[in-house]
Subunit: 514 residues, 2 copies
Amino acid sequence: MTNETTENQINQQMNDTNIDNLLFSDLLPANETGYEATRSFLLKIVDILLDFIKESSDRSTKIVDFHQPNQLKQLFDFTIPENPKNIQQILNDCKQCLKYQVKTGHPHYFNQLSCGLDIVSMAGEWLTATANTNMFTYEIAPIFILMEHFVLEKMRNIIGFPNGDSILAPGGAISNLYAIIVARHQMFPEYKTKGLKALPQLVLFTSEHSHYSTKGAGATCGFGTDNVIEVPVDANGRMIPEELERLVKESIEKGHRPFFVNCTCGTTVLGAFDPINPLADICAKYNMWLHIDAAWGGGCLLSRKHRHRLAGIERAQSVTWNPHKLMGTLLQCSTVHFKRDGLLIECNQMCADYLFQQDKHYDVSYDTGDKVIQCGRHNDIFKLWLMWRSKGDTGYEKHIDHLFDMTHYLVKRLKEEKDKFHLIWPEPECVNVCFWYIPTRLRNNEKNREWEQELGRITPLLKARMMNEGTLMVGYQPLGDKPNFFRNIISSSGVKPKDVDFLISEMDRLGHDL
Amino acid sequence: MTNETTENQINQQMNDTNIDNLLFSDLLPANETGYEATRSFLLKIVDILLDFIKESSDRSTKIVDFHQPNQLKQLFDFTIPENPKNIQQILNDCKQCLKYQVKTGHPHYFNQLSCGLDIVSMAGEWLTATANTNMFTYEIAPIFILMEHFVLEKMRNIIGFPNGDSILAPGGAISNLYAIIVARHQMFPEYKTKGLKALPQLVLFTSEHSHYSTKGAGATCGFGTDNVIEVPVDANGRMIPEELERLVKESIEKGHRPFFVNCTCGTTVLGAFDPINPLADICAKYNMWLHIDAAWGGGCLLSRKHRHRLAGIERAQSVTWNPHKLMGTLLQCSTVHFKRDGLLIECNQMCADYLFQQDKHYDVSYDTGDKVIQCGRHNDIFKLWLMWRSKGDTGYEKHIDHLFDMTHYLVKRLKEEKDKFHLIWPEPECVNVCFWYIPTRLRNNEKNREWEQELGRITPLLKARMMNEGTLMVGYQPLGDKPNFFRNIISSSGVKPKDVDFLISEMDRLGHDL
């Protein structure tokens, strides 16, 4: 058999029909001669993904082809078969799956704190998948472990923690949990062996508008949610320092020990920034740990124009900052930073020398496994590093400024259309814009409690129309005494003024007769 | 301008030089006409990834080009620049990064519980990245949320939990933590609001060979590590039921409340399986929650030949099972299952109605955000679902059986080469094989304590030689009174008998003169 014949045979084998009939066992690694088949399969997958990317950026396509759960169960074959499905079916599964998936990168998707699809970050995540490693030792993830060192050090420098330590965690809630357990460890190290029953009743404080993860960690870590005190906020959703001090004093009078204050920079709904400096003063006075949950607002630190919102951040002991939010990194990418080095390892190490040997032939201080509560960790750094390399600091600053510029444009347009839209907080601090849509019949009504209730009833109805049409996605929720209202988020770099204009006209088109 | 001219211009623009000089801002989504550039960029990324995949399956290539941390810092530019790097540099970054990364999919990589690179699972992870969604609501992840329902239900059926509930978590340690907090919630629901100080001292039990995550959760959740009691194991590394009962009684005598037993199915080092049935009897007798940490051994449930190792698993209240280990799914994919439905939500919900609205236009029982401690979650289901579709149940059974067949072949070969290798536990229960390598000078020595100590000193030296040559990776650790020994893992479907033969000859080549 000549070489030519072999090659023809391979080419023959590689034509569409033949690839499609292959099974997983014809691919690498099960079949060691399966490289060409593997390559063809992956290129077909990439074609499917490229189609999805193209559609996600095409303003004339739907964001979602929405179906109720019971319908979707009929439309899509979720079952696991007894016998293997061939490559054709696997490719078809991928196509079908994307058909029903929400296009979170679509410029008309304003629904979550994480919107958009950064292509470089996505390429980074493809590479991460292919490298398929675990972030617990330098031995098996050398380049990525060092990358974490460099990027996290840079982030600490931006915060104003010249020394310190950091870790990437699976989401902001776990980052906040890290801050709480590290604070507890530094202040009451005996808890680690003896447990909380050996300590006075510890108490945490967080604003009533803060993310529920502080309360959640209060339950998980054994403090009890009764001991996570919610501090009242002002009319703009910011924690009131005087109220914090009053509640701290109350707690001390009960014989409890206030030890932790969570200061939110960028609340979930309003995007409010708690005032750091007055809270830091109170923490210093009462010997409490100041944590800043900047999961949402942290990205502002990259912009000279917007970083003033976090003035005083360097006074905190710890900071949560999620690049997967304002910075547009792919999900998930969450970081938590500590002013003092050594705390993470002191808090979390269980001295599992069967996993983290101390006699390796390299400097094992680079191994992170004993610093975390997770043991193994997904590689969440590469997609951030690559994206930041592609943008540089100046490109990231432009990205952040663009999101705020688009937000200001939206606020301006909503004010212009004030018969159709009621801005609830007219001067947003972040890219959250909260408003009611007003259908025709309610435009001339008195703006009283009953009117608000009616707008609150209309909100989910309009959302349902948006979902069923699939043309626009904006989230909604109630908050305090405000019934359901829309909270629009601009965190995708793909959003342009024309998308803001579309948002306004489309809501009116869908909702005017409600 | 004719259409033809435009197309030529685009083609011109797409040639290598031009793409390479582009910036991120020329791609989607910042540049809405950037689809062709985006496509070219991604195809180049895929070429780089395909090269890595090809090398990873080429037995003549190195697994790792190892450098000490300080050297690697010189060789690779980790810095974040002030200004954007162009596409050429981004592509080069990806290439360089993979050059220094360990090829965890290489058939001579036997280093971790997770080895291998399943191509279908990897394709699934590429799609997951492109879909870039968050698993907290049906609204934004409809297809993936339902996929979780189907796959987790199937896993519960395999375990023997016909009802119940499950969740995917970021790694086995967090899965075990879920089991502990859910157990605490069911048995002592008042902890949630009042905290642990309102309860008697709760005590947990786990074997001295178990993963350190139970002890870690003991600290995190406020019990204190003194209250996580290590139960002695027998000569094969299995928890001794009589010792458990003795320690439970001791604890009760102290006035403490034993409430949780962690039974490991597949220990980290030996791969031992604690005896489920006797432990379940003791749990029933003393009203304790039985959790099974089958993060490692869970995959055996897919094989009729090997599932007997977990006989009695359906008697547990909860089970951790990591598809990213024996099942070969890409990192991370960890699941935790509960026999009783409703517990996860009761334990973890914080009623954040500003996030999880109850008045949506679909059945919100599908939303998972309020069931978890993380709020947002990475999509870890698609890579598992797609892989399982491609293999079917029969293909997965073959996969598991193949890993055990290769392990038996390794054990047989080591026994044949008993002058060069000393099997420490000659009849492994899982795919962990633990042994010392014996260099020439020690082959005729008496096998006493001193001889073992010397072999233990040699182990890290041989490991260093493997890393520096880059031809083979096998992990090592001490355990109990056994000094450093190798623990070989076969969890990659790419491993063939010739790779086992290579392992043996290569260790001898590198180590005989030590």
